[in-house]
Amino acid sequence: MADMIIDPIYSLYKDQPIYRDLLKDFVECLDERLVLSSKALEGQDWKDLSRLMHQLKGAAATYGFPGLAALAGIIELDSATESIEEAKIRASFQEVALTCKKIEAGMAQLLED
């Protein structure tokens, strides 16, 4: 629902037209990344979750989304520790999912302009 998205998030590269298509692809694939990560989370495959979050962290930083990169980095570390705190990871994952929605909203607005 549109009313759930309060603050759209934009890439640091939003004003550079040459990156527009790549940004669009990146944002379109966020869902796919979340689905894969969610499967790892549900299956308690912490190693895979950490790997996927590491990839998301790097890609988000590259594409100019430092907030998403930081959140993914938290899950990466939390799911790579000896004593897993599942509730904490789930809460962080919700934040990642919400941030992705905000990024999608930002992208949609950018494409409209």
Binding site: D25, A59, A61
Partner: protein
């Protein structure tokens, strides 16, 4: 519009979207960008091309990017390696710096800043000191002061702005790629592309497309039009390294390119004019390759318009101290060490040794020594550790050599030394000697060692008669003279 050409980059990262971003961003900033998603792909690229800089991700999914660092440092010493890291792994990045990486780049760095950081390390500074010998050539990475080196520099000066094809001949490790690069950097093409392609490392079916490019649909994987390396370097310089290993089928096509100065991409009927300056290099004896039918004679003559012989290090021993100094400085910086110049006695050993692997072997020895030495000075054992094989110890040790001392001559000359010392031995004892020693060596050195022993043996048997030697060897007299020169043999000694 892309900026001026800044060099060839290899990005090693398992995330395809991250790679796509860097490829676009850095291509716009003047780099030719290749992508590898794992260490095997990285090694493949490094063996095929001359890469100016590598951006190596620390975490490659199921692989650790750092495991690729030693390979890059040893196999691609001219490449600057930057470790790509997210902000959480700075400690590891610092470890990487201490183990051969040039720098680290965090993934949130803006493309302009990344380009600046790479350029800072890959571009030749204008104000480099000229005290390494060679004047202008020192600035572009050639080091030396010997007569042989000065003569080489003089030839390069004459050739720098001439478009003729140049054939660089010389043993492995003599620095043919460095010389090709230097020639490009001092030429009037220096702002254009320099590319190097290793003909021995690219599969035959890929080499044609790499060289000439292809049209979309020309073959199954040709999804888009792609320019070949000859066209990409149209105003620049292209080095065909290991040209002697180029497949015969492609030799004919390359000949046509050199004659007509046009390329026709695979799947196209339209030729494209090019002005690429071609430099070819090989460690092989191309005349021998021609005679054996492995290399086209017409291509040989087309390539060898200006042949340039790069002397082996044993023929320019005066340059060894300068090279040692330069390598120590380089590795001190790379490995964050403070190793001083070797003591005079160590330097004497360095100069006395034959260096069959030439500058590459010297460089590797210094690198190993800088890494391994426990103190701030290099010991003889650190330098020659790789030669401490039991069978490599010369049979006749001089009284001032301890058991731990390294051999003073090369494995190649060690292998031949016994024959020289005992000229009247039977052929079976020669075979025993060959078995005993040559099998300790890498293939290239073993071949050379055998060639030298074989030649010495023939010269012994013929009393130094070149005509008879060439007849028995089934080779031209000129070939024999070339081999004498290569192995530093003097025919008078056999008469």
């Amino acid at each position: 519009m892309p900026n001026e050409y800044n060099g060839r980059l290899l990005i090693v990262d398992d995330d395809r979207q991250t790679c796509a971003f860097w490829k676009l961003a850095l291509s716009e900033l003047g780099f030719l960008v290749d992508l590898a998603h794992n260490l095997d792909e990285m090694k493949d690229f490094v063996s095929r091309y001359s890469i100016d800089a590598v951006l190596l991700d620390l975490n490659l999914g199921h692989e650790n990017g750092l495991d690729g660092l030693p390979y890059l440092v040893s196999k691609s010493p001219l490449s600057k390696v930057f470790v790509l890291t997210a902000h959480a792994s700075l400690e590891t990045a610092i470890w990487a710096l201490q183990n051969g990486a040039t720098g680290y780049i965090t993934k949130d760095t803006a493309p302009d800043d990344i380009a600046a950081q790479i350029n800072k390390h890959t571009q030749v500074p204008d104000n480099l000191p000229m005290d390494l010998g060679g004047g202008e050539f020192a600035r572009v990475g050639m080091i030396g002061n010997s007569k042989a080196f000065q003569e080489l520099c003089q030839r390069l000066q004459q050739l720098k702005n001439v478009d003729s094809t140049i054939l660089l001949l010389g043993e492995s490790g003599t620095g043919k790629e460095v010389i090709a690069r230097s020639l490009h950097k001092i030429s009037n093409r220096s702002n254009e592309r320099f590319e190097a392609i290793n003909c021995a490392a690219i599969p035959e079916n890929l080499l044609e497309s790499e060289l000439f490019g292809h049209k979309r649909g020309a073959f199954t994987d040709a999804k888009v039009d792609r320019k070949g390396i000859l066209e990409l370097c149209s105003n620049g310089t292209l080095l065909f390294d290991e040209i002697g290993d180029m497949p015969l089928s492609l030799q004919a096509k390359l000949l046509r390119v050199l004659q007509e100065r046009v390329v026709t991409p695979v799947g196209s009927a339209t030729p494209i004019k090019i002005q690429t300056r071609v430099i070819a290099a090989t460690h092989r004896d191309l005349i021998e390759e021609v005679q054996s039918g492995r290399f086209r004679e017409d291509l040989y003559y087309r390539l060898s318009v200006v042949p340039l012989y790069i002397p082996p290090l044993r023929h320019r021993k005066e340059d060894i101290p300068l090279l040692v100094e330069s390598f120590i400085n380089e590795f001190n910086q790379r490995f964050n060490r403070g190793i001083t110049m070797p003591a005079e006695s160590v330097m004497r050993r360095l100069i006395a040794y034959d260096w069959p692997g030439n500058i590459r072997e010297l460089r590797n020895a210094i690198e190993r020594a800088v890494v391994l030495t426990q103190n701030d000075h290099i010991r003889v054992e650190d330098l020659f550790q790789h030669l401490h094989l039991p069978n490599n110890t010369p049979k006749k040790n001089t009284s001032n050599q301890s058991n731990a001392s390294p051999p003073m001559s090369s494995p190649l000359s060690n292998a031949s030394a016994a024959l020289h010392n005992e000229p009247n031995r039977s052929s079976s004892s020669r075979e025993a000697d060959i078995d005993e020693k040559i099998f300790q060596l890498p293939l290239t050195e073993a071949k050379q060692a055998f060639e030298k022993i074989y030649l010495e043996s023939l010269l012994n048997d013929t009393g130094g008669n070149i005509s008879e030697t060439s007849k028995r060897a089934g080779r031209y007299r000129a070939d024999i003279y070339r081999l004498l020169e290569r192995y530093d043999l003097h025919v008078d000694e056999f008469r």
